[in-house]
């Protein structure tokens, strides 16, 4: 067995995860591709009166009603500004159905191995910026640092409050 083969073999042993890199504001975020059902262009979002304010509304995704969340509002950032690059990422969540989140741009798909990811524990950090509560790790893609979303935190009810 040649050395190259051995190296390849070892590569396979590591846990690799693919992430979709999106831009929200000036920062880049990674979404585990396993959660992503679909990426759709911006379309008319029907507002639902008196819903949680971080819900932009609902859309018609090929005959299904899918709620769309403004991740910016949930993270306590400024209002969404829709441009030609804005996209809705449709996340598939077992048992609770699909959910869309609005991002400013979809950049690329990257593959990170466990070694490239630095875990971030978000519980109890009292001085962190608000948005950290939805991040479970920082991925190193070459020179770039990419915040990795914890999807379960995004879909959970608790809103980012400024009390911490």
């Amino acid at each position: 067995m040649s050395e190259a083969n051995v190296a390849e073999f070892e590569e396979v042993e590591k846990v690799l995860t693919q992430y979709i890199v999106v831009r929200i504001g000036s920062e880049k975020y990674g979404i585990d591709i396993g959660y992503v059902d679909n990426i759709v262009r911006m379309q008319k979002i029907t507002k639902v009166p008196m819903a949680q304010d971080y819900f932009a509304g609902i859309i018609n995704l090929r005959g299904e009603i899918v709620p769309v969340m403004s991740i910016r509002k949930k993270m306590g950032l400024s209002e969404d500004v829709f441009t030609g690059k804005s996209r809705i990422i449709i996340l598939k969540v077992e048992e609770r159905g699909n959910l869309g989140i609005i991002v400013d741009e979809v950049r690329e798909v990257i593959t990170l191995s466990e070694d490239d990811i630095e875990k971030v524990s978000n519980g109890g950090s009292s001085h962190g910026t608000p948005k950290q509560s939805f991040i479970n790790g920082i991925g190193k893609n070459g020179e770039e640092l990419i915040s990795l979303f914890e999807i379960n935190d995004i879909i959970s009810e608790k809103e980012n409050s400024n009390s911490n």
């Binding site: 008319k44 029907t46 507002k47 639902v48 009166p49 008196m50 819903a51 949680q52 819900f55 609902i58 859309i59 018609n60 005959g63 299904e64 009603i65 899918v66 709620p67 969340m69 609770r96 159905g97 699909n98 959910l99 879909i155």
Partner: protein, 713 residues
């Protein structure tokens, strides 16, 4: 034992039989001498026993077996039905219910032996026979179900093998098995007349004997057996090196087998007359083994195959019991609700597609063929509408399956509370969507228990009030437009509004001042507030504080609502209103600031143009006087949290909606039109206001929210 595929059928049919038993025993309680009912109880118990045996549920089989024995004695007038027996029988039913619940949850009957019930049953039997009570009687004589059969006569009777019309391959198989030193047997199995799962039986027999050898020939063919395409007998040719006794024992261990006849085959010609004229007869062997596991096999030969093979088709040739009616072709199919849901979704898709064509034709109506195009669209609309109706009908089931357990419940409550009362029900045949029927049971039961416990007064008070001694509880169901109404009530005490009022004040729900200004109806509706229980003491039956609020939220979860009317001292009536359909409705589309909303047509009375000057104020609320009725005005933009218009137009478009006795006028910007809409859920992410009950997709792909106007009134 692979009987999993029959489990669902077993559960369904057992529930039906248990229901029959329950109904019949109720009847027997009133008319202990009703022979028809006694026979029916007997039959139901017997069927249950058979089915439980088939599925290998021994405890259930045992219990039903003993019930059957008792009824055998009742049938032959040795025991009289008395109230002690009725109570015991109800206990049996509860125990069987318990088994069935276990089967439903775990596919197993559980481990409860219910020994004391069985012992009591046997005590009854013993009394009838003038014996001392036995501890248990698992091996009690089995002849009960087959009294009409000829008494057992076995032994030297000649049994012929019918002409099996073997194929060449089968002949070769038999010959080669013989050559390799195996013994060949022709085995004929007769299944009990009332066996319900014949194919399963046959399967179990085959499985049992195949441990000892190989089946060479099936008559009827294995496919036909699998399809239950045979009457009571089936036979097979078997090659084995084991003793015949072992095989017979294995086959007899399967329950509900009437008897087994085996003939040792020495020559292929015995099986097929075309091979030779000569017919050798071996000493036939009649089986009459009884195993405790399967006590149903009894010596009652149904004279299988007594005629030597008419040249008729091999499949039925060996069946002499042809006078047993052929199985009536089933007119119903059991369909998995998921499949119906899928079908329903497809119909929904079709309607959405149709709507989009309609909207295209409306916007682009000056095409060349627009006339023909419109006609075709109308045709398409007719088809989709009727398709939708058919699918809805398929999903409808009568509420009977839910409400027929209530008489028994009221009976038990009546005894427990020592208050005579009776339940009358009408409209059990009223149909509702299956999903609604499945969930309406608990709320209705709760209301009935309330009536029994709190509604009906004690005997003494009833006598004082000059009411008949026996309390009357009713459940009336009927259809009204797009709704099904179920009224549950009693002629009992009614709701003491003063008591409710003081309780509400005590709990801090309302201030004394508010309470003073509340109408009777508003006060009664306080009962639906969470954890508002009026029970002075907590009883088994109700009053744990989980009360009408749960009933209300359950019913609202189904898209319905509940109201109560009551007169103190005279009784109360709860009116449950449920939507007939859940998925597709006719709706009016309206526009408020550019967004479209759908309102169910069923709740709309009419649409009015109201001049701004006609709006009056009553207690600071906007109302209009519409042909003599004062109707409150609700500004849709306001309750939807939308910025109001800077200036009202001169004339407002008002949609008058109705719920029960209440009307309200909704102010909208524009009317869009009427449309059939498919209701879609918003999912559980968005915590929308109760006012929004869902969303729908319009023809042009736009999304409209559905307003539940019931929440406005």
């Amino acid at each position: 034992m692979d009987v999993g595929q029959y489990l669902e059928i077993f559960i369904d049919e057992s529930s039906e039989h248990l229901q029959t038993l329950s109904d019949c025993i109720m009847t027997l309680e009133q008319e202990p001498d009703n022979k028809d009912t006694i026979n029916e109880v007997f039959r139901a118990a017997h069927s249950l026993k058979g089915m439980a045996g088939t599925m290998g549920f021994k405890r259930m089989q045992h219990l039903t077996h003993d019930m059957e024995n008792v009824f055998q004695e009742v049938r032959s007038d040795k025991i009289q039905v008395d109230s002690a027996m009725i109570d015991l029988l109800f206990e049996c039913l509860d125990a069987l219910d318990g088994y069935l619940a276990n089967v439903k949850n775990t596919s197993d009957e559980g481990t409860e032996d219910n020994e004391n019930i069985i012992k009591e049953l046997n005590d009854f039997l013993a009394k009838a026979n003038g014996e001392a009570p036995k501890s248990s009687a698992p091996k009690k004589e089995e002849s009960a179900p087959k009294k009409d059969d000829a008494p057992a006569a076995s032994g030297g009777e000649d049994v012929h093998i019918p002409n099996l019309e073997l194929t060449d391959k089968e002949i070769d198989d038999i010959k080669s098995a013989k050559d390799s030193g195996h013994k060949i047997y022709y085995i004929d199995v007769a299944i009990q007349k009332d066996c319900l799962l014949k194919a399963a039986r046959a399967f179990l027999v085959f499985k049992a004997v195949e441990e000892f050898g190989q089946i060479l020939v099936f008559r009827p063919s294995s496919q036909e057996i699998e399809d239950e395409n045979f009457e009571l007998n089936f036979s097979f040719v078997f090659a084995t090196s084991e003793e015949l006794e072992k095989i017979e024992a294995a086959a007899t261990s399967v329950s509900e087998i009437e008897n087994i006849t085996s003939i040792s085959v020495t020559d292929v010609a015995m099986l097929d007359q075309s091979q030779a004229k000569e017919e050798k007869k071996e000493e036939p062997k009649e089986e009459k083994k009884e195993t405790p596991a399967a006590p149903a096999a009894t010596p009652a030969p149904a004279a299988p195959a007594a005629t030597p093979a008419p040249a008729a088709k091999a499949g039925a040739a060996n069946n002499k019991n042809t006078k047993v009616a052929k199985p009536v072709a089933s007119r119903t199919v059991r369909v998995d609700i998921e499949k119906l849901d899928a079908l329903m979704n497809q119909v929904s898709e079709l309607i959405i597609a149709k709507n989009s064509i309609v909207s295209m034709s409306n916007t682009d109506g000056n095409g060349v063929n627009s006339q023909g195009f419109h006609e075709q669209i109308e045709y398409l609309e007719r088809i989709t509408t009727s398709l939708h109706e058919s699918v809805m009908k398929v999903r409808m089931v009568p509420i009977e399956s839910v409400v027929n357990k209530y008489p028994r419940m009221i009976r038990d409550l009546s005894r427990k509370l020592d208050k005579p009362m009776e339940l009358t029900m009408t409209g059990e045949e009223t149909e509702l969507d299956r999903t609604v029927v499945d969930q309406i049971g608990d709320p209705l039961q709760h209301l009935l228990r309330n009536s029994a416990d709190h509604g009906i007064e004690s005997k003494e008070i009833r006598a004082e009030r000059g009411k008949p001694e026996s309390g009357h509880i009713f459940l009336n169901a009927y259809q009204e437009g797009n709704n099904v109404i179920i009224k549950v009530g009693d002629d009992g005490n009614g709701i003491d509004t003063e008591a409710v009022k003081s309780k509400a004040i005590e709990r801090g729900i309302v201030t004394p001042e508010q309470a003073e200004s509340m109408s009777q109806k508003e006060i009664v509706n306080l009962l639906f507030m969470p954890s508002f229980s009026m029970a002075k003491k907590i009883t088994d039956i109700s009053g744990r504080g989980v009360g009408l609020d749960v009933v209300k939220s359950n019913i609202e979860g189904l898209g319905g609502d509940v109201e109560v009317e009551s007169k103190f001292g005279e009784g109360s009536t709860f009116t449950v209103r449920l939507p007939l359909t859940l998925a597709i409705i006719q709706a009016l589309l309206v526009e408020v600031r550019g967004d479209k909303y759908a309102i169910a047509l069923g709740s709309i009375l009419n649409i009015e143009d109201i001049a701004i000057g006609d709006i009056k104020y009553v207690e600071n609320r906007e109302v209009i006087n519409l042909r003599g009725t004062v109707i409150p005005i609700i500004r849709m933009d306001k309750i939807l949290g939308i910025e109001p218009r800077e200036e009202d137009p001169d004339v407002l478009t008002v949609v008058i909606v109705n719920r029960g006795d209440n009307n309200a006028g909704l102010v909208v910007d524009n009317l869009v039109g009427q449309q059939e809409i498919v209701i879609k859920s918003l999912g559980d992410y968005i915590k929308a206001n109760k006012l929004i009950s869902g969303a729908t997709i319009l023809g042009d792909g736009e999304v409209a929210l559905i307003l539940d106007v019931n929440t406005l009134m």
